[in-house]
């Protein structure tokens, strides 16, 4: 098999030594089937054992290997080296998050937001298991199916300038996941979830840049979820204005 050499320019940040991150170049021989994550693993195994990054599944399921590859948030396990042939490949930590070390960013903010929207089915009264499952038709499933594909990789947050400008913004993935439950026919938690997503730093912060939906590696469309949630909020608010006692 033929081998090429890729130049990988990786952000290094060693908080115990450096005040600021810097770039370090590594030469990595590669085959056609190798991805950026393979190159990072090659560097760690053969060139520099101190390089730090997150990874786990190597197949676009776990969502832990996200980084800015050539300026765009991507899963490093899904970015082939040969696509950058002849160019230096810049690998930087996901934008907008603070950097702990090298490519590892602090995920606390996102983890809190994820819990905040209560990503589980809420029932006013749980029925006992003997009564059987909560049934759902194929059409009802289709209404939210794409939004349940999120793997929490945070690429959408890294792509979102609104989040970059205001970290209080609830953000694409959390709202998309909230919408996944709002649209689920089995869920009865609208009264709990609407106040959270319709909070001032919720959907209203979004100015429809749309980049979240462009970078999502799982085909989720957070922009759509946010817009739908805005429309639901505006119609509910107008309804309660016209009929203060009536419809919710």
């Amino acid at each position: 098999m033929s081998q090429d050499i890729a130049t990988i320019r990786v952000t290094r940040y060693r908080p115990e030594k450096d005040g600021k991150p810097f770039f370090q170049d590594y030469k990595v021989p590669y085959r056609k089937d190798m991805v950026v994550l393979d190159a990072l693993n090659y560097i760690k195994a053969n060139l520099d054992g101190t390089l730090t990054y997150r990874w786990s599944c190597r197949m676009g399921v776990c969502g832990s290997c996200g980084a800015n590859v050539d300026g765009v948030p991507k899963l490093t396990c899904a970015s082939f080296l040969h696509e950058f042939k002849g160019r230096t490949i810049k690998v930087e930590p996901l934008t907008h998050f603070s950097v702990i070390k090298d490519l590892v960013v602090n995920m606390d903010d996102f983890m809190h937001k994820l819990v905040e929207i209560k990503p589980w089915i809420i029932k006013e009264k749980e029925s006992p298991p003997e009564e059987g499952e909560y049934r759902q038709s194929a059409e009802e499933l289709e209404r939210y199916a794409q939004f349940s594909s999120c793997i929490n990789c945070m690429l959408c947050y890294s792509a979102c300038p609104v989040y970059g400008l205001n970290e209080k913004f609830l953000g694409p993935a959390a709202i998309a996941l909230a919408y996944r439950y709002i649209e689920d026919s089995r869920d009865e938690g609208k009264d709990v979830r609407f106040p959270i997503v319709h909070e001032l730093e919720g959907v209203w912060e979004c100015t429809l840049v749309g980049e979240c939906s462009v970078v999502c590696p799982k085909g989720v469309d957070p922009m759509l979820a946010i817009q739908k949630t805005k429309i639901l909020g505006a119609t509910n608010a107008l309804k309660s204005l016209v009929m203060p006692r009536g419809g919710k």
Binding site: K20, S98, V99, P161, G210, E211, M223, Q227, I231
Partner: protein
């Protein structure tokens, strides 16, 4: 276990030039700036209506023929149309229409709404100006 963080994290801030870093962001910023032209035309026109209402029709018409105002309007029209086209496209993305098993694409919403825009504009001219 201590909760203290032993080493500082590196925080990054988004500068005012962020929209130049990516062509999608640049197009987004152009789209948002259409609002400047929409708003400023509205304000200028409100001023012209006020001149009409206070009997200074001649100065209102002179203002409309001011070369600076004409130049602004010639720029404002394409920007407003750009707002319209991006708005139509986004309608198609957010509210696609389902017919049987096929779902409409955003560019179809764009085309249908452009035709609608032409019909509405022609109707305005026919009903409010020519008749």
């Amino acid at each position: 276990m201590s909760k203290e963080k032993p080493f500082p994290e590196y925080r990054r801030k988004l500068g005012p030039g962020w929209w130049l870093s990516n062509s999608h962001f640049t197009r987004y910023m152009i789209r948002e700036w259409t609002s400047f032209f929409v708003a400023l035309f509205s304000l200028i026109y409100i001023y012209e209506i006020s001149l009409f209402a206070s009997g200074a029709k001649d100065s209102a018409l002179a203002l409309m023929r001011n070369p600076g105002i004409i130049a602004f309007n010639i720029v404002a029209l394409p920007f407003t149309l750009y707002h319209a086209f991006t708005w139509f496209y986004l309608i198609g993305k957010v509210q696609p229409i389902k017919l049987g098993k096929t779902t409409s694409k955003p560019w179809q919403a764009l085309l249908v709404n452009i035709v609608l825009l032409l019909i509405i504009s022609y109707a305005v001219i026919q009903i409010l100006v020519l008749r």
